[in-house]
Symmetry: C2
Subunit: 421 residues, 2 copies
């Protein structure tokens, strides 16, 4: 009997966990991704704020697969899925499967606002984090030599949209970068010349958190000098301004958008399959799609209801779903089945600044130093690779003691495109 | 009396040393560079061979200037020098000077061969190192899925031109990357499928070294599997081939050029000043230019004769010249002068591979492990920044023990250009 072929599309948290659970267990396993690395997205904001080098949060997929029997990696762009023929279409040819795990993640959702999509930065890819870092540092360089007062103020105004964990963490990290590093680097720019504005549509930040932590986060950010605008929305942007609902305009050269996510384009390749809000694929209780028990969708792309509510698009859900899909495949091969997928919520956390975070776990709430320490340790734990952990720990230690961020480099003005043929 | 203005154009080894020697000593010091960081060029080849992250060999200039009284940094592209008006022309406006130190370094010299200039990689800038790394890794990914035998062989053939330290170090590091890492990552590619070809026009490698070390380096590289072609020249290239003098053609998708350097474009901005071979500026014995005692040229751009021979274009010469120019400015202000510049040759070194290097110092010759250890320690010593030293040391330790290079990432397919307005 020939080995069953399992293909995993996407090597984010969901795909990686599925691969780990399937590796070396008698399947022919093919992992497909457009990048040759797994990216630890939760720390992208630290790359964008000059706290970490890009390489520290990426881990080459082949560094994993070389140790796994029967596993192989294909660097390719996925262009379709042929559900009837059971094969994945890629720019490197067709890849047929017996089981397919779709784990292609999400993209930023600008809700159809073209001007925002054109001018805003978002953080999904590694190169976007480097671009945003370059941009922020460049605005300070430009402000240093800008004689016009108004233009200078606009260069030093940074607008962040979305009060979820990413927006909060980015706002705090950016404020610290400005206060401790950039205002020292530029003797002609004082902290008072700069603005970091965080805009959230709801009436509080971190809406998934308990109310006392929400208020704590907001109070803390404000005490750090971040302007928090609640119950406000961005409706348009130019390269030098941000327009709010109601008509107010903020002169700013930097708009960071973390106010929406939608399923990645690949969701559209599963023809005839039901989609939910934000383009997510509706999955059965075992994470497979209707009429195709051999196709599983996990992570941000899957719309999986629990107690009647779709599970949030976040790494822990993706990880647990990846593991579940792999176990389900094992079970099927043995003629068994598993109880429906259930997400076990271990809690949530967000860091606000140095020695300051909020976290929930097992019904308890934490804030301040203890939550921050827990945040650090958990992120180090979940990061892949001993070397990466060492580099990150060293950067954090260095930043903690010296209030320095040495990765404040403006890189890559000219670039030869490295693309597949 | 107002302070005298010293402007330094270029923050390579020469500019940096000059700045250090002038900082906080009563001058108004302005440093100008198109990058916001000092780049440790001698380790660029390790970035290109996935051994180091880019950030580890770059150090932000402002991290230095913030501690120096009277010093400032200007991120700008230099477009000219007005010797009569004593000002530097940049895209950020004019910068007038009382003393100017020109330290803009060198660029790659393709000796007019357009096809080579179009298709070859060189290593002068940080982004070029990342591009070359992406390219090498991508060729292996493409070879993994290439059915055509000849095309596959061309994808896995890497041609390096120039048997100086850069060519030798790159060839050795690339060979090790292939043998220890990439051939393990790709189970379908064996070391025997790959070629690393090093081409040198002279009859030996490392022509500046004593003959026994030259022969040792050549023997060692060959024993590692590098094909060393001596007394040979590259005369043309396409995207998929390299043409040799005599008509032979090597099918290869990767050509790395380290066979020539010329003065940076800025040399041409010093109008009416005598130029020597490779466009270098002819300097007086005190490193100033004729009729302009207030303008010094240091480093690769300066053609400075010693015993009738121009000094080589290398970091130690630039460093010593930078320090000298600064001391000369101090002396002039005190109404003194200094004896003519003399380069003190501390020796030379090149690493070939793991535990293997060649070095000369104080008339002694070293090779093998001891030379390699000296190479490591000296490069760590000259690297700037405690954090960078730690990151590099960790990478080297990691590579030494585990024969791993984790920075094998193919990054940046799409990129927003971060450019000055």
């Amino acid at each position: 009997m020939s080995k069953k072929r399992v293909v995993i599309a996407g090597m984010g948290f969901g795909g990686l966990r599925a691969a780990k659970a399937l590796a070396g267990s008698g399947f022919e396993l093919t992992m497909v991704d457009r990048n040759n690395f797994h990216l630890f997205q939760p720390l992208l904001y630290q790359v964008a704020t000059a706290g970490l080098e890009e390489e520290a949060i990426a881990y080459p997929v082949r560094a994993l697969t070389r140790h796994w029997r029967g596993a192989s990696f294909l660097l390719a762009e996925i262009s379709g899925v042929d559900l009837a023929e059971k094969c994945l279409l890629t720019d490197a040819g067709k890849v047929s499967y017996d089981y397919l795990i779709v784990a292609a993640g999400s993209r930023t959702n600008y809700f159809g606002m073209e001007s925002v999509a054109t001018h805003a930065f978002d953080l999904k890819r590694l190169d976007q984090a480097e671009d945003l870092r370059n941009h922020i540092l460049l605005k300070f360089e430009q402000a240093s030599r800008e004689p016009d007062y108004q233009r200078r103020a606009a260069l030093l105004t940074f607008v962040i949209v979305g009060g979820g964990p990413t927006g909060v963490e980015f706002a705090g990290a950016l404020r610290e970068l400005i206060v401790y590093v950039l205002s020292q680097d530029h003797p002609d720019i004082s902290v008072a010349d700069t603005r970091v504005v965080l805009i959230e549509a709801a009436d509080s930040l971190l809406t998934a958190m308990p109310s006392d932590l929400r208020e704590y986060a907001c109070r803390k950010l404000r005490s750090m000098g971040v302007e928090v605008l609640l119950e406000n929305r961005v409706v348009g942007a130019t390269a030098e301004s941000v327009e709010l609902h109601g008509g107010a305009v903020i002169a700013s050269h930097t708009l960071f958008w973390s106010a929406g996510v939608a399923a990645a384009e690949m969701a559209g390749y599963l023809l005839g399959v039901e989609r939910a809000a934000a383009g997510r694929i509706v999955v059965q209780s075992d994470l497979s799609i209707k009429d195709h028990p051999e196709v599983f969708v996990v992570g941000d792309m899957a719309c999986c209801l629990q107690e009647g509510v779709p599970l949030p698009m976040m790494a822990p859900v993706a990880s647990q779903q990846g593991t579940y899909a792999a176990k389900m495949i094992h079970a099927r091969e043995l003629g068994n089945t598993l109880p429906p997928f259930r997400y076990f919520d271990k809690g949530a956390m967000a860091t606000i600044g140095k020695s300051c975070a909020v976290a929930t776990a097992a019904g308890f709430r934490f804030r301040g130093y203890i939550a921050w320490l827990a945040w650090l340790l958990l992120h180090l734990y979940y990061l892949i690779g001993f070397r990466n952990r060492m580099v990150v720990m060293m950067n954090w230690t260095y930043a903690y003691w010296f209030q320095e961020r040495q990765v404040r480099l403006i890189t890559a003005k000219k670039r030869r495109a490295a693309s597949l043929p």
